[in-house]
Symmetry: C2
Subunit: 162 residues, 2 copies
DNA sequence: TTGTGTGCAAAAGCTTTGCATGTTG
DNA sequence: CAACATGCAAAGCTTTTGCACACAA
C-alpha cells in the first residue's frame, strides 16, 4: 500500500483523472460512477465486487451490481483500480493510484494478504519480453504460503490452489 | 514444458505416484481416476475442466463432471497437476510431473500461453518468505502482454485483466 | 430532446452438492 | 458386505445481459 500523499490529495487527483478519462472516452460522468470511485478510495486493502455492492447498499446508496461491475471495469481501464485473483474464482480489487507497485503474499490458512516490492520482477519482465517478443503490459505475482501466527484457519474465501 | 523423460517413462512413474498417494490417503483406486490421469498426461499444454470432460465423453468414456473436478483436486494435492488462473474466472490445469518449474506469459489478444524459467523468482520467494515470516508453499507469476505476430484477436476465453 | 447509463431481475458460466446406485477393499 | 466414489441433475456463486426507465449532455 505504501501511501505517498494524503488521502484527500489522492482523492482529488483521482477524481480529476477519472473525469478526464470519461471525457476522453465520451462516457457520461454519472453520480453513481463517482460514488463508487469514492467508496473504493475510502477503503483499505482488497475487496470483491459483492462486498463493494453490499457496502454501498448499507449506506443506503441506490446502486446495482451491474453498475458496480461496469464502473470497476472503467476504473481498471484507466489504471485507478487493480484487479487480482488470489487463486479463487473471485476477482479482488484494490485502489492503485498513489501507491507503489507491489506484489502479494497470501496465507493459505487465513487468507491474509501481505504486499511486497522487489525490483527483480521488473528485470524479469523486461528480459522475458525481449526474449519472447512480447510487449508486456502488466503482471501478476502471488506467493502462497503459511503465516507464522496462529491465524484463523476457519476464515471463508480461502485461496484454493495455484 | 521442457520434457526430460519419455512420455512412457513419465506416465509409468506418474501412475506409481498417484497409486501411492491414494493408498496413503485411504482413497480408492478407481478406474475413473486413472483414466483421467492418463488423459491429462496425454495432453499437451493447458486445459480447463470442461475441455477434459468433453474430451473424455468424445472417447465414449463414461465419466461425470463431478468426478473430473474431484480427481483434478486429488491430482493437484499430490503435485501431479498444476492449477492456474490466467486472469479469467476459469481454472486452467497442466500436468506437472517431469517438467521443469516454469511461469507463464499470456497474450492479451489471442490467449496464447508461453512458458519461461527465471532463477530470480526463487530468490524472491526465499527472501520474502524470510522477511515476512511466511513459509512459502508455491507461487504464481503471470506476465500479460501482446505477442508480435498478427494473432487471432477474436479467440474466445481471453484473459480480462490482472 | 435523445442517446446512453442505470436498476432490476433473469440468464449465463464455472464449480459444488445431494441422492440413489454401483463398486472397491 | 459396508463404506465410499460415481453419475446425474440441481443448486450455488460470481459475473453478464436484456429491458424499461431515468438522466446527462
Amino acid at each position: 500500500m505504501v501511501e505517498t500523499k494524503t488521502t484527500n490529495e489522492v482523492f482529488t487527483e483521482v477524481k480529476r483523472i477519472f473525469t478526464a478519462f470519461l471525457e476522453q472516452q465520451n462516457q457520461r460522468k454519472t453520480p453513481e460512477r463517482f460514488a463508487i470511485l469514492e467508496e473504493i478510495y475510502h477503503r483499505t486493502d482488497h475487496f470483491d465486487a459483492e462486498a463493494l455492492y453490499i457496502h454501498m447498499k448499507n449506506q443506503s446508496y441506490r446502486v446495482s451490481r451491474a453498475t458496480v461491475y461496469n464502473t470497476l471495469e472503467l476504473l481498471v481501464h484507466c489504471d485507478l483500480v487493480k484487479r487480482h485473483q488470489f487463486g479463487k474464482n473471485l476477482a479482488q480489487y484494490e485502489k492503485s493510484f498513489g501507491f507503489k507497485q507491489h506484489d502479494h503474499l497470501i496465507c493459505l490458512d487465513c487468507g491474509k494478504v501481505l504486499e511486497f516490492c522487489d525490483p527483480r520482477i521488473q528485470q524479469i519482465k523486461t528480459m522475458m519480453g525481449d526474449l519472447l517478443h512480447f510487449k508486456i503490459a502488466h503482471h501478476s505475482l502471488n506467493l502462497y504460503g503459511h503465516c507464522d501466527s496462529a491465524c484463523d484457519k476457519n476464515r471463508k474465501n480461502l485461496p484454493t490452489s495455484a
